[in-house]
Each structure stands twice: as C-alpha cells, then as structure tokens.
C-alpha cells in the first residue's frame, strides 16, 4: 500500500438532518499510514462525519470517498474495506469473544479458523483465558480488543473510531493507542473522533477541530504543542474563537 495514497476523503461535504446542518462543507483527507484525530465538543459533527463515511448518512451535498469509492453508491463494497469501532463495541452477550470474532467474520464472508481467531485475539492483547468466556463478563477495554481483532481479520484499509478511549482506564487507553498506531504504521488510514486531547496528541499524525459541523482548525500533531492544542480546543468549545 502506498503510504501517500488518500484512503479517506470528504469533499465539500454537507449533511443535513431535517432542518439541522450536521456537517457544513467539510474537506478532509486521510492518507494511508496516517491517524487523523477529530476533536470537538458534543454536536460538533464528529460522529456524523464517521457515519457518513460508513454510509449510514447520505450526503446532502458534496462527496465522501473511501479508497476512491463512494459509500453512498456502493456501501457493501466500501464497508468491506472499513473497520469500525464505536465507543461501545457491541457484541453478542451470549457468545464468547472468540465466537463473536468468528461470527462477525463469517457474516463478512471471512473464513477464520479457530486457531487464527485465537491468534488475532492474542495479538490485540486479550488474555487467553478470556477468549472462551462470554463477553457479558468483559470490560469495555476487552470488548475494544475483540473489535480490533475483527478489524485485523478484515484486513481493512481504513479504520473509523468513534470515541474509542472514552471510559477506558489510562493503561488500557495507552495500550489501545499503541495498537492503533501500529495499525497505521502498517498502512492503514485511521479517522478517530475523540474528546481525549492527550490520546489524540499521543497517537495522531494530524488533528482537526470541528465546531458546528465545520472543520475550523487543523494541526500537525507532531509539531503542535499540547498547551496550544488545549487552548485552541477550549476556546472553540467555549465559543471564544
């Protein structure tokens, strides 16, 4: 995979919900190997952006592309290239982590041997003794790991994360950030909606701040100082900018 190829792209994207404009002329691109963190308060349009890339929302105007294809035109093919991790990874409570992984993969037409499924879960850091336990006993972090294993099994080119570290303890959040970084280093394009400045600064290559559906600031995560990022973020959130 070319490290510079744009895998996620929004062009002049507008999304309206009835009389409310959720996304307003958004231009955004995430190349392969890049982690893009979208910051913003509640209702800024972060989740709407992710939903539009997933094809759950239809653009009112403009376009979105994943690896050059529109999720609106060909949702099934586009989603085959995408891994999605919501804030709470929803799994079937009466199945074990291993069974959930294999079940979701079967539905996505991915054949996964039992051993391969175990290996994928081990790679995400899920303890071996938890593989066969029902997920109703899992913590949020453990569910995230099953979600990551599904993403790995799909060999997705793009990962969409919606508040992935919300509610995780610092150690689990750090572990999760490292795994996302590792996935990006292998060539995946990652778009992450988050409130977590620390996490964004730690894992992202680029950071954007959204406000009222618009992308109002963009930073290079490697050069922007944490204080400057925090100042800008709070200023936008409080309506000072």
């Amino acid at each position: 995979m070319s490290p510079n190829k744009t895998l996620l792209e929004a062009r002049q994207l507008v999304v309206n919900y009835k009389n409310h404009r959720a996304i307003d002329t958004l231009d955004l691109s995430v190349p392969a190997g890049c982690v893009y963190a979208l910051l913003g308060g509640n209702g800024a349009g972060k989740t709407s952006t992710i939903n539009t890339f997933l094809g759950f929302n239809r653009p009112t105007d403009g376009n979105v592309f994943i690896d050059g294809e529109s999720p609106d035109q060909n949702p099934t093919m586009v989603r085959a290239k995408v891994a999605y991790l919501p804030e709470n990874v929803a799994l079937y409570e009466y199945m074990s982590g291993l069974e959930n992984l294999r079940f979701f993969c079967t539905l996505a037409n991915i054949r996964l041997s039992r051993q391969h499924a175990h290996d994928l879960l081990v790679n995400t850091g899920l303890q071996t003794d938890a593989h066969e336990r029902r997920v109703s006993t899992y913590s949020k972090g453990m569910r995230q790991k099953v979600g990551l294993a599904i993403a790995s099994a799909k060999q997705a080119k793009v990962m969409l994360l919606d508040e992935p570290t919300s509610g995780l303890d610092p150690s689990a959040a750090n572990d999760f950030a490292q795994r996302i970084r590792a996935a990006a280093d292998l060539g995946m394009a990652v778009l992450m909606a988050t409130h977590d400045l620390f996490n964004a600064k730690q894992v992202a290559d680029r950071i954007g701040i959204m406000k009222a559906g618009r992308l109002v600031e963009e930073f290079d995560a490697h050069t922007v100082a944490h204080d400057e990022l925090e100042h800008k973020y709070l200023a936008h959130a409080r309506g000072l900018l």
Partner: protein
C-alpha cells in the same frame, strides 16, 4: 435464541401445551366415537327387532345415523361443537343434525373452546411473534446492527438469514410435539392414506401460516426503533387477524347474506308443501291429479279396486314432493352459508387467520362442506329405507285397506348406514381459495420483508 434460553423455554411450553390439548382432544374424540358406535348399534338393534307391525309404522320408528369423524378431528374439531352429531331419519321430513356438544355446555364454555386446533392457529403465531418481534430492534438497541452494517453485511442477507433461522428454530420447537402427536394418532386411530395426505397438506398450510407471521414480525421489527413498540404493533395485528377479523367477517356476511331463523325455515318448507311450488297447485289439487293418474294407470274407477295399497302410493307421491321442497330449501340455506363464507373471506384482508382456520377445519373434515356431504349421504339413506318400507306397505295391501305387515326379517334386511367420507382431493378443492389467500399473504409478507431489508438502517 438457544443461548438466551428462549428456544428451550418455548420448546418446552409448546410441547406441554400442544400435547396437553391434543391428548384431551384425542380422549374426547375417542369417547365420542365409542358413544356413536354404541348408540348406533343399539338403535340398529332396536330397529331390527321391532316385531310385527305395519311397514310405515316401522319407518316412523326411525333410524339414527352418526357422522364418523376423521382422526384429524383430534387436531381441529372445527364445527363439531355447533353442528349436530346425529341425524334422525324418519318419513316425510328431512331433519337437521341434532345433539351438538355446545348445546350441552354452559354459556361460559362458548367463550373459549381451547383445543389443539386453537393452539395451532391462534397461540403458536404468538410464539412466532415472541421469537421475532425484536429480531432487528434488539440488534439496533444493543448496537450490533451498526457493527453488522459496518462489516458490509447487506440488510437483505441479514434479514433472510434471520428469517430462515427463525423458521428453522420454530420447526425444531414444533418437531418433538408433532412427532409425539403423530404417534398418539397412530396408536388411537386407523390412519388411512387419505388421512396422511390431509395431514401433510395441513402441516404445509400451517408452515405457510407461521412463515407469514415470521416475515411480518421481522419486517415490523425493522420499522420500529424500540422492541416494545414492535411487540405492541404485532400483538395488535395478531388480535385483528385471530380474533377480530372472523367476527367482523361474520357480521358483514350476515348483513350481506341474511339467512332465515329455524322457525322461518321450517314454516317456509311447510308452506311450500301446502301451497306447491311454481304452478304445481296446492296439496289437495296435486293429490286429486295424482289420484286420477293412478286410477287411469290401473284401469279402475275406484281406489278401493286398486290391486295395490293406495295409501302407500299416495304417501310416496307426497313424500316425493316433500323431498323436492326440502332439497330446495336445504340447498338454498346451505348455499347461503357458503356465500356467507365467501363474504367472511373479505375479512382475510385483516390477516391470514380466517383462511388458515378454514383450511384447518376442512382438511380435518370438520367444516360445513363435510357436514353437507354427510347429510346428503344420510338423506340418500333415508330415501333408501323409507322407499323399502313404502314398497312393502304398497305391495302387501290393496285399495284402501291398510293391513300390510312387516316382520323382523324385513327390518333386518335394511342395510346399515355406511358412510364414506370424501377424499382429500374434495377437501383441497374446497379450500383452494383459502390456500391461495394464504399464499398471497406469504408473498406479500416476503415482499414487504425484502423491501424493508433494503431500507434497513442501523
């Protein structure tokens, strides 16, 4: 479903309820069958041993005949509660069936006839709804639907998979009960090939019926955001289909095709016999004409000079006319019932239960069509044995003398009533429209399911 215990609980409940009701139905059916055989044998024995008496007086002793119910009546007793179990065959008059079980029961029992048939056509759709009402809403509520969508699983594939899985689960739930029911049937009754054929057709129709509810429940689950709303909507549909539609249909049918009450029906027959049909003339005129024809036929001037009994001749003539009038009124009434049945079908727009009920009753041989077939056979038998007694009366007397006598040998020579129920083909032909209605419901439900699946959103 297996893991959350729903399937096991439902399998156990279905087995217990279905087999419980079925055993009660089989016991009732067997008891009724034995009673009919015992009463029938006693009545025939009493007929055979009447001793020496006038043949027409013997005919007035009358014969009781009973409708032999199909073994499948244990599954659906249909109209048995309301149609009579016995027909009293006597001269001059065609009777309706009498001794309906409902007449022996209290008013309360008429509000709920719980039977295996009721479980199959009314309660099991509720179980389908219980299994399917949250098929999609639960996925939506738990967030797994978003996960599935994000994996590129198409709505059509997901829904058809769930639909097939649900039907398979339902069959697995039903199979043990069906197997045990079949064994009970086999042990208690002589199952003919025709019964097996009817049983297969009935199973197929019920499968289509449950598939309609499954597809509708799935589709409803797609369109509602909460499981509770989906459940309430489906319960309302069940109520409309199973309980309200038949009553609405009946009321509409009675308004569109009114039928006479018993008093009006019998007085209509009496009036037509007395006054005559069309230009036949009244009773006295017809008898005068007949008398003239008989005298001319035998070449005598007075009835006293006839070589045969005139009373028997005249009775046969009057009975022949009476049969014609009875047939006309009975056919008119039964045609009206059938037209009412067709009007009731209009209420099938509210749900498939009316059509299923009709298929179930007919294939079990417990509907109006089978009752009519039996009553016609009984009427033919009445003609046979009344004709015999009239022959004996006419041949063993002459003129106006009425000294004809019959003996036990005569009464014993009257063949017992032997009834052959109609074939499965008769039943299938009769319920063709109902089967088409069921298939139309299935087609519509599946189309709605596919349409809904394409619009499935997380």
């Amino acid at each position: 479903m297996l893991r959350d215990g729903r399937l096991l609980v439902l399998a156990f409940s279905v087995f217990a309820v279905l087999i419980g009701f079925f055993l009660a139905s089989v016991a009732e059916h067997r008891q009724m069958q034995q009673e009919k055989q015992a009463v029938g044998a006693t009545a025939k024995e009493q007929w055979d041993t009447q001793g020496v008496k006038n043949p027409h007086a013997a005919a007035h002793f009358g014969i009781y005949v009973f409708k032999p119910d199909s073994p499948l009546a244990s599954i659906d007793s249909g109209l048995r509660q309301y149609t009579g179990q016995a027909l009293w065959l006597e001269p001059h008059k065609r009777n309706g069936a009498r001794f309906s079980p409902a007449a022996d029961q209290g008013l309360a029992s008429r509000f709920g006839q719980a039977s295996a048939g009721f479980v199959l056509y009314a309660l099991l759709p509720l179980l389908v709804i219980a299994l399917a009402f949250n098929a999609v809403t639960q996925e939506r509520e738990q967030g797994t639907l978003r996960m599935l969508h994000s994996l590129g699983v198409s709505g059509t594939k997901l829904l058809l998979g769930k639909f097939t899985g649900l039907l398979l689960a339902f069959v697995v739930v039903l199979l043990p009960a069906m197997a045990v029911a079949l064994i009970i049937l086999y042990q208690n009754f002589d199952l003919a090939g025709d019964d097996i054929l009817r049983l297969f057709a009935l199973s197929g129709a019920f499968f289509v019926y449950y598939a309609v509810f499954a597809a509708l429940a799935m589709s409803t689950s797609i369109h509602f955001k909460s499981s509770r709303l989906a459940l309430f909507t489906l319960l309302a549909f069940w109520l409309g289909s199973v309980l309200i539609a038949p009553r609405l249909g009946s009321v509409a049918a009675e308004m569109m095709v009114p039928t006479p009450n018993a008093t009006a029906f019998w007085s209509g027959i009496k009036q037509d016999i007395q006054q005559g049909l069309d230009n036949d003339g009244d009773h006295e005129a017809r008898e005068a004409l007949f008398k003239a024809q008989v005298l001319k036929q035998y070449g005598v001037a007075r009835i006293e000079d006839l070589p045969v009994g005139y009373t028997a001749l005249k009775r046969s003539f009057n009975d022949g006319y009476s049969e014609r009038v009875h047939a006309l009124h009975f056919d008119r009434l039964r045609d009206a019932f059938e037209r009412q049945g067709r009007f009731v079908h209009i209420a099938s727009l509210l749900g498939p239960s009316i059509a299923m009920r009709s298929v179930s009753m007919t294939l079990s041989g417990m509907d109006l069509a089978h009752q009519r077939h039996f009553e016609d056979a009984a009427e033919n038998y009445r003609h046979y044995f009344i004709g015999l007694t009239d022959d004996w009366d006419r041949e063993r007397s002459h003129g106006t003398e009425r000294g004809a006598q019959g003996h036990d040998a005569d009464w014993g020579s009257v063949k017992a009533f032997s009834y052959a129920p109609p074939s499965a083909g008769f039943a299938l032909n009769y319920v063709l429209v109902d089967l088409l209605v069921l298939l139309a419901w299935l087609a519509a439900a599946l189309m709605w399911l596919l349409f809904s699946a394409r619009r499935l959103k997380p």
